[in-house]
């Protein structure tokens, strides 16, 4: 489990992260969203004990960050994909992964097996002995992700795992992550790719120096907008909108884009009464659906254009 308590970090007096309070459960895929400069990378670096905090504290797998001997224990149980792959270009994929597996103390037989497993999963086994310098950007990123998983860590931090990749490479990386997330470990993803976070993560937090909101994508949308039923009629909706006003549990009935929109506390329970009211008023209902709010809507509502 990862828990941050009032975590903060300044760089020469400039606030990068302040009063960050987060909780990530074991086995959860957690996404940290935010604009450039929101403090996402700083947060990961603090949690990996690469840099110290200037206020607050955090616990990773029960160990307190930046406090020996806890910091060493944290480094042993986490894997990190930094913003840049940072691979040794003149060495092969096998040599790169083997080096890191050795640093994490993985026994020779286990690391050979693990490296083969990861490279086969990434479809890079046939190119395992070629220098990294000959790899494409997407392939390098895959190797860097494999490096974060080479010692079977309990917690993996991924900083922008698909940044700078073409769509095909992004899909491959996402599939790979989905495969690895199924192994019951905690994965912490930094990203500003909303779609990626929505697809991969169980829960997410949106931050801009501090946490603005946290929860599952569904929880976040319902928290900010509630649930909205959309009804399309064959006739002009303006004529029938008054018929649904005053129904219990319904609020803000309005016409938007030629459709009736009604904010409801419980659509599954209220929708039959609404349809009935409209039918009785003479309207011909063509279809009833729920307005889908995306994480992007939440993100834009919270962060807006206010990027630093």
């Amino acid at each position: 489990m990862i828990e941050t308590i009032g975590l903060g970090r300044n760089y020469d007096g400039k606030v990068a992260v302040e009063d960050l309070n987060l909780k990530v459960n074991d086995g959860e895929v957690f996404g940290l969203l935010g604009p450039n400069g929101a403090g996402k990378t700083t947060t990961i670096r603090m949690l990996c004990c690469l840099i110290g905090q200037t206020s607050g504290t955090a616990y990773v797998n029960g160990f307190e960050i930046n406090k020996e001997p806890d910091a060493s224990s944290i480094r042993s149980v986490v894997g990190l994909l930094p913003e840049s792959p940072g691979l040794y270009e003149s060495l092969s994929a096998t040599r790169n992964l083997d080096f890191y597996a050795q640093l994490y103390g993985v026994p020779k037989d286990k690391r050979e097996k693990r490296i083969e497993e990861l490279l086969r999963m990434l479809e890079l086994w046939d190119r395992r002995e070629e220098p990294i310098a000959t790899y494409s950007k997407g392939m390098k990123q895959k190797i860097a992700i494999a490096r974060a998983f080479v010692h079977n860590p309990q917690i993996v931090f991924l900083d922008e795992p698909t940044a700078g990749l073409d769509p095909a490479a992004s899909v491959t990386v996402r599939e790979f992550l989905l495969q690895l997330s199924g192994e019951g470990r905690t994965i912490f993803i930094n990203s500003h790719h909303l779609d990626e976070v929505e697809r991969l993560c169980d829960r997410t937090a949106i931050m801009n120096r501090t946490v603005l909101a946290a929860g599952s994508p569904k929880e976040l949308t319902s928290r900010f907008w509630g649930r909205t039923t959309v009804i399309e009629l064959s006739d002009s909706p303006e004529r029938f909108v008054d018929a649904v006003r005053g129904i219990e549990g319904a609020s803000k009935a309005r016409v938007e884009g030629g459709k009736i929109m009604i904010d409801l506390d419980d659509p599954e329970k209220r929708n039959p009464a609404i349809v009935d009211a409209l039918t009785r008023a003479g309207a011909k209902v063509e279809y009833v659906s729920e307005l889908k709010r995306s994480l992007e809507d939440v993100y834009l509502k919270l962060v807006g254009g206010g990027q630093r």
């Binding site: 760089y11 690469l50 840099i51 930094p82 003149s90 040599r95 080096f99 640093l103 860097a144 490096r147």
Partner: protein
Amino acid sequence: MNFDRVMAVTRKDFAEFRKNKYILMTLIVMPLILSIVLPMIYISVINSVGTQSTGEVHLNITVTINYEGVSLSNITLADARLERVNMTNCVLTSCIVGNSTVTRSVLTSVDISNTSIQDCLIFNSRLASVQDDGGNYIRGSFYVGGNDQAKQLRDILFNLLLLWLILIPVMIPTVTASYSFVGEKTNRSLEPLLATPISDFELLVGKSASIFLISIGATWMAFLIAAGVVDLLVSPELGSHPLPNAYWLLGMVLLAPGMCLMSILANVLISSKVSDVRVSQQIGGVLVMPIILFFILSMTGVLASGLLPLFLVSMLVFAIDAAILWISLRIFRREEILVKWK
């Protein structure tokens, strides 16, 4: 300290060095040039002095004063003729000496005949029927009375050559260390590396070990080649192979590793503070200048005179190494490296 992690870093760096043409060139070309060219120049300079034999010296002496059948000590003489004179602690210039004994004196442009000489230094002089205390003639005007003295002078000259070759273990790390540390920074590989359980000390030791082993390997190879070149050049005259002697062996085993470590640690210190390989090399080059200067100054002093001074200086070098390591460990901040790299 976890040795497996240290070894992993060392082996990884070795693998990278093997693929880096610039480092390979440095490891091969510089020691090769220094180990072949330097001894050749050095020996030819010694020979140019040593081959001024008795018969080839042309003297133009104008005698203005004569000494005969006297004893002289602690005196400086010029343009004098000395016959049957016992001289001790004298400095003679442009003199003619015959049927005399000279002890612990310096003779320059002197025509010497039928004279017994002991513990003297003679330059550009003509010698005829001259005997040292052992009755052996030692060629050339570059002469110190007594066989042991001559051997001692020759050994000092060989020792000085070793001190010149100390440039190799000092210079090689300026290239390898710069690549090793700043290379990690520019390659952006330091962040994932520092996120592993490896400690600062293990990382410093692992990286220093790879640089040290590769630098000292090239150094020893250069020393052996240089010794071979010297032997090849001087053995026809000496009838023996003087190198490597005990001084060289001690230099290779103690002084060269000590100096190599000093250079590595100094460069590590620089590398952890700069972000560019070339800047690191330039600063490293400047930093080793005092080290080189120290040795050039030492050449005129006692360092080349025997094993004990060499041993003591080597111990001093190791003490300085320990001090730099201590400072490095306090200055090496993983956070600073991560945050301040460009």
